[in-house]
């Protein structure tokens, strides 16, 4: 595939993704939340009673669709490759804090783009934080940080996360009384299940084919001035922006935005933690979900870490609300930076010692 074809395909995929995102909002999803990987894992955690915040409980079919869409297309295209074993527990910990940072901001990088397209300027502050986090994480990688190599795994290991998500989908469709459903708040705002699922499957397949990555697009520009990956994200933004303008959902400003707060420092730091963790994990929450679908059990571990992080976030009041970040959320964000940085430095030093003494 030559460069221009790669870019063309990304631009089309980005546009379709942006259109589907706004369509889901028009059909019932919360504002600027056609997709939000962080918010939706949080809703799933709520639906499974892993936390008891009544306003954010719903087994979001979009996320299930994303993962299964990626899995199906990668099997069809022979790109389904079960692999894993690269620091799974440390990945769990990093993802846990990525989720805490995302819920301090109230969105993953994907929703950050959608919030920007809706005119929410708090997301612009968060974008600067995200970029700062990516740069900080890249410095660690340059210093020799690595989570180690992954190795070939069995199809059972690679497919297990698909089984888990498939099971949640079956329960949602056929035994919904087992799950919790919000009756008020963001969790109660939802597009019809079938449309949400279809939207997720399509975007999951597109993201798998085009290696969509919010962190990767920014990384390529800084590292070697290449805008290929970024062009897909820009198109998501442009398409969603146009859709929002046409349908009257565009509202420029900081205050009064849906599911957001104006605490700029914590919007910045929350998303900086997401960027920092994402670079070390090798991809943003969306990319982790897609990779998990491709059979990467390290990314599946990240998915589980994010679900755990979401549950803890709400059980201990770490997630922000429209009033802003909580004390707990601020402490947890700082703790996240500290834990990840200290463990990373310990890891880098151990590797350097090994290199000197021979392993």
């Amino acid at each position: 595939m030559n460069i221009s074809n790669e870019k063309k395909s990304l631009v089309i995929a980005g546009a379709i993704t942006g259109i589907i995102s706004v369509t889901l909002v028009l059909l019932g999803n919360p504002t600027n939340m056609g997709f939000c990987i962080a918010c939706f894992y949080r809703d799933i955690a709520g639906a499974l009673s892993l936390h008891s915040a009544a306003v954010v409980q719903y087994a979001r079919p979009e996320i299930i669709g994303l993962l299964l869409g990626s899995m199906l297309i990668s099997i069809i295209r022979k790109e389904f490759k079960p692999r894993g074993g690269s620091s799974p527990v440390f990945r769990f910990v990093i993802s846990f804090f990525v989720m805490i940072g995302a819920l301090v901001f109230l969105g993953c990088p994907f929703r950050m783009v959608l919030r920007l397209a809706g005119g929410d300027l708090n997301a612009l502050v968060a974008l600067f934080g995200f970029i700062a986090g990516i740069i900080a994480g890249s410095l660690l990688l340059n210093q020799g940080f690595t989570l180690g190599r992954s190795y070939k795994q069995s199809a059972v290991e690679g497919g297990a996360i698909g089984g888990i998500f498939g099971a949640i989908l079956l329960v949602l469709l056929f035994f919904p009384s087992l799950l919790k459903f919000s009756t008020t708040g963001p969790g109660s705002l939802r597009a019809p299940i079938i449309i949400s699922l279809a939207g997720g499957l399509i975007v999951g397949a597109l993201a798998q084919r085009n290696r969509f990555c919010m962190a990767g697009g920014i990384r390529d520009v800084f590292l070697f001035r290449d805008t290929t990956l970024l062009s897909g994200l820009v198109m998501v933004f442009v398409a969603a922006l146009v859709m929002n303008l046409v349908t009257g959902n565009f509202k420029l400003g900081f205050g009064g935005q849906s599911v957001s707060h104006t605490d700029w420092l914590w919007n910045f730091l929350g998303m900086a933690l997401v960027g920092y963790g994402s670079v070390l994990l090798g991809g943003c929450p969306l990319r982790q979900t897609i990779l998990a679908g491709e059979g990467n059990s390290d990314s599946a571990m990240s998915v589980l870490g994010m679900i755990a992080g979401a549950a803890i976030s709400h059980n201990f009041s770490l997630a922000s609300s429209a009033q802003g970040a909580t004390i707990g959320g601020k402490v947890a964000t700082i703790l996240g930076f500290t834990v990840i940085t200290v463990l990373a430095i310990v890891m880098i030093r151990a590797r350097k010692r090994e290199a000197v003494h021979g392993s």
């Binding site: 460069i3 790669e6 790109e79 490759k81 692999r83 690269s86 890249s138 990688l141 340059n142 690595t146 989570l147 180690g148 190599r149 992954s150 190795y151 290696r211 990555c213 990767g216 990384r219 390529d220 590292l223 070697f224 001035r225 290449d226 290929t228 670079v279 994990l281 090798g282 991809g283 990319r287 390290d298």
Partner: protein, 68 residues
């Protein structure tokens, strides 16, 4: 020169390749085992003005980078 980027998660294959490219090496090979790493390293190499030839192997691909 050879960079073994097999099993490394993104963006490490690029960073490890960049470390070698920064030393002004004119010819190197990079071993990758997943499609994203293959595409990312190829894109990086082309931006750095290297010609890239990908050979399919049992683990994935061996990318031969040659300075233009």
């Amino acid at each position: 020169m050879e960079v073994d980027a097999r099993g490394l998660s993104c963006p490490q294959p690029i960073i490890e390749t960049k470390k070698v490219v920064d030393k002004k090496v004119t010819s190197l090979s990079v071993l990758v085992d997943n499609i994203a790493a293959k595409e990312n390293v190829s894109r990086f190499a082309k931006a750095m003005k290297y010609d890239v030839v990908a050979h399919v192997t049992d683990y994935g691909w061996k990318l031969e980078l040659e300075k233009r």
